[in-house]
């Protein structure tokens, strides 16, 4: 009963059995989070550094909470205000921190492949908290956990991923995971935001009409329009995007059945998702956040491994 990898660099490297193990373990940790004392002493002997070279609120707090609930010691490193501004290299930074006997590294970086680079050079276990436009494995895992919780399983479920797929590591990790676990995936969005050969590369359906995608799916995972990643105008205006691809309550009510709404956050309210949909009974967005802590606890517990 062990993960087949030493690090969590991406869903790409995981077997379905690994994913099953993480989700089952997360169920037990979710129970811990309901107790009066939300803490277990399991990782008391472990020190974890949260190495965040990119902005984050949600993910960083979620990891920090997960670490604290496991009784691990945590160190937070954000690039601004650190020696990275003085030009210290990634490898130097990490080796310096590791010399202080830190056991695990949770890393977010704007360069795709940064955690993979690190994994080749340092002995500590590494958890990828998002690398460039490559992967965000813990987000996909908590999304899968939330779908499983709401719909009872993943196999055979129809999931629509909507929005800026091109620049989204969340989309990629989700596609890998959902396909590995037997779900059906439809990508929906404007053609300018969907990579050209995605249909063949990942065996997913592509839909340029939002309504069709929503009629087909059981769950819609709505992605944020990533303004900070685009240096070319890929649609004429936010308002036009919202008119064609924004999800709102009126659209949801007009569908033949009630679908589940998800969003990794932060929401651009009024752009990809309106408040009346985000705050509706069909939305499990806040559950996703809650499940995020349990899933990250499971990942850290399984990667911390033994002390032999």
């Amino acid at each position: 009963m062990q993960l087949s990898t030493k690090h969590l660099l991406g869903i790409r490297d995981l077997q379905p059995a690994d994913i099953q193990l993480i989700l089952d373990t997360a169920t037990q940790f979710k129970e811990v989070l309901q107790r009066p004392i939300k803490k277990v002493p399991t990782l008391r002997d472990v020190t974890i550094v949260n190495l965040f070279y990119e902005n984050s609120t949600r993910t960083r707090i979620s990891f920090e909470l997960a670490e604290k609930r496991l009784s691990a010691d945590t160190i937070n490193f954000t690039a601004s205000g650190s020696s990275a501004a003085k030009g210290e290299t990634l490898l130097d930074t990490v080796n310096n921190i590791l010399s202080m006997k830190v056991d695990m590294v949770v890393m977010r970086h704007s360069a795709s492949g940064a955690p993979h680079f690190l994994a080749k050079h340092i002995p500590a276990a590494i958890v990828n908290a998002g690398d460039g436009i490559n992967e965000h494995p813990t987000q996909a895992l908590l999304d899968a956990f939330s779908i499983r919780e709401k719909l009872g399983g993943l196999a055979g479920k129809k999931v629509a991923i909507i929005g800026d797929i091109m620049h989204s590591r969340v989309a990629l990790s989700n596609i890998y995971l959902l396909k590995k676990m037997g779900a059906e995936v439809t990508i929906a969005g404007p053609p300018t935001l969907i990579p050209v050969h995605i249909r063949e590369a990942f065996d997913v359906r592509v839909e340029y009409n939002l309504r069709n995608a929503l009629e087909w799916c059981d769950v819609a995972n709505v992605l944020r329009i990533q303004l900070e990643r685009q240096n070319q105008p890929l649609f004429s205006s936010l308002r036009e995007y919202s008119l064609a691809y924004g999800v709102n309550k009126r659209l949801l009510d007009s569908l033949r059945k009630d679908i589940v709404i998800m969003h990794p956050g932060p929401i651009n309210r009024g752009v990809e998702l309106d408040s009346d949909a985000a705050d509706s009974k069909q939305s499990i967005i806040l559950h996703q956040v809650e499940n995020g802590v349990a899933v990250r606890m499971a990942v850290l517990y399984l990667l911390a491994g033994g002390t032999q």
Binding site: M1, T25, Q28, V32, V40, T42, G306, Q308
Partner: protein
Amino acid sequence: MKIILNEQQLALTIQRLANQLLENHLDLANTVLIGIQPRGIYFSDRIVQQLQSEVAPAAIQYGKLDITFYRDDVRKGLHELNQTEIPFSIENKEVILIDDVLWTGRTIRAALDALLDFGRPAKVELCVLVDRRYSRQLPIQADYVGRPIDSIITQKVKVYWKEKDGKDEVTLL
């Protein structure tokens, strides 16, 4: 291999233990029973069944505890996790921990630590089916014992339950 308790003896022992519990906790109003995962729950299920035939079922507060996170060897290898269900408060209650075999005492030590994270019980008692005497590695003792046995470190006590293994039996291997 030696059979310590056959099916009939096991049933009688469970009856006796349930009655011993009732002797000290007459109406179970302020008492909660907690079975220890993964194997103690088959035993605690039977005890609770026996109690239910003698006391109103609604009166019995019964939960299950998985102690994996509190083991003193938790980081020496990955242990399988089981469900913890304690849907009530243990604050100021008299807790009866129930496990099948008491050997080194480490499981019960972990269970006590786990319990403290759920609240402050008024009292904790221990009920076990088999007490492997003189094998304790920690100062832990049982309050209700089904059968005390003498064993050496290389021997194993196997408890079989009809629901899981097709028969009710306790053997020393």
